[in-house]
């Protein structure tokens, strides 16, 4: 869990901005935030570590920081939450072990990596049959340009989120994934003109 790289200034700035947004949201939303109410960091530090399954305020602070800066050193993380580095390390290990933290990853710049065009696609199948569903889901897993695929309840069956270099690449993708499958009735394409907000950080 050691980090050899210097702290990222942009990440830190983003974290600060994120905190501000979260703070505003929290002020507006007392009900959903009730589990955090009255949690004083200093007091929480004296409390014993959370029992199995339950997250205490310190866990949530660790998660919030790690969402914003996944490569923060254990030492800095400990200083940020006011714990010893040993118990910080232990807590992070526990959060990984119990599946609260699924992993750590670098966030890359799509505009520099031939993935600057974000396109959503709504896919409707001719009929919901298991065979068609399975074929479609298998095709989706094969293509790295498809970042997300969700089976939804509503006016269509699948919502796809794709990142491609340009419209030609998107066309090739749709041809390979959707048009070649017998059960796909139609694909509606929505190209993104502006990303007003784009984060993977969960509200913690």
């Amino acid at each position: 869990m050691s980090s050899d790289y210097p702290a990222l200034q942009p990440a830190a700035a983003a974290a600060a901005a994120n905190d501000a947004v979260v703070a505003v949201a929290r002020a507006r939303q007392p009900r959903a935030r009730s589990r955090l109410r009255g949690a004083d960091p200093a007091k929480a530090a004296e409390a014993p570590a959370a029992s199995a399954g339950a997250l205490d305020e310190l866990d949530l602070r660790l998660l919030r920081i790690l969402q914003a800066d996944g490569r923060i050193t254990n030492l800095k993380l400990a200083a940020a939450v006011g714990l010893s580095s040993a118990s910080t390390h232990e807590r992070v290990k526990r959060l990984v072990r119990d599946g609260t933290i699924l992993g750590f990853n670098a966030r890359l710049n799509p505009n520099l990596l031939q993935a600057g065009l974000l396109v959503f696609a709504e896919v409707r199948l001719a009929a919901m049959s298991n065979a068609v569903n399975e074929a479609f889901k298998a095709a989706v897993q094969l293509r790295p340009e498809i970042l997300e695929c969700h089976e939804v309840a509503g006016g269509f069956d699948y919502l796809l989120k794709t990142r491609v270099a340009h419209m030609g690449a998107y066309r090739d993708l749709v041809a390979a994934v959707a048009w070649s499958l017998p059960g796909v009735r139609d694909v509606r394409t929505y190209a993104v003109m502006e990303e007003l907000k784009n984060t993977t950080a969960l509200p913690v």
């Binding site: 507006r28 670098a106 340009e145 695929c149 929505y190 003109m193």
Partner: protein, 169 residues
């Protein structure tokens, strides 16, 4: 863990267009998968000296290929297990209405994404909430209260077939 395995051919074809070489692409792929890997292990994976790898990671960060690092958290353990998409139609796309909308979506952490799209509606919003009641509260206080919103359509996700934020490299 979502592991995206791009075909080997796409690497050699694309890496030149991107201004990065094959080793850079390998480094980025590893870091997308394991953002907390030690420099020593990363060096082993890409068969370079630790010093050379450190230098490359610094350069990739300086040149904005790497924007940051993040922990990927489990929505099911954090009261955010329900994913809902919203399509929003505006009465008209006027600058003031769009600015208000843009500001409103920033205030709520349940709104993970909001995109202005070209097509049959204006905005596509991705949200993660605990349940339908939380969703109802969120859409009522954030979206329906805004001026110029003509219609919203809700699509609840029944199954997440695939979810990754790893770019194809």
């Amino acid at each position: 863990m979502n592991k995206t395995q791009p075909e080997p051919s796409s690497v050699s074809n694309l890496s030149n267009d991107k201004g990065i070489d094959k080793i850079d692409a390998r480094i980025l792929r590893v870091l997308q998968r394991d953002g907390r890997i030690s420099n020593l292990k990363l060096a082993e994976e890409v068969h370079l000296s630790p010093t050379a790898v450190l230098e490359r990671v610094k350069r990739l960060t300086r040149e904005n290929f790497i924007l940051g690092y993040e922990a990927r958290l489990n929505p099911n353990k954090l009261g955010a297990s329900m994913m809902v998409f919203i399509e929003v139609l505006l009465d008209r796309t006027a600058p003031d209405i769009m600015d208000t909308f843009k500001a409103a979506v920033q205030t709520r952490p349940e709104i993970l994404e909001c995109h202005l799209v070209a097509g049959g509606f204006d905005y596509l919003i991705k949200t993660r909430v605990a349940d339908m009641a939380a969703y109802r509260e969120m859409i009522a206080s954030v979206i329906w209260s805004l001026p110029g919103v003509r219609e919203t359509r809700t699509y609840t996700v029944m199954e997440e077939v695939k979810t990754t934020n790893a770019l194809p490299i």
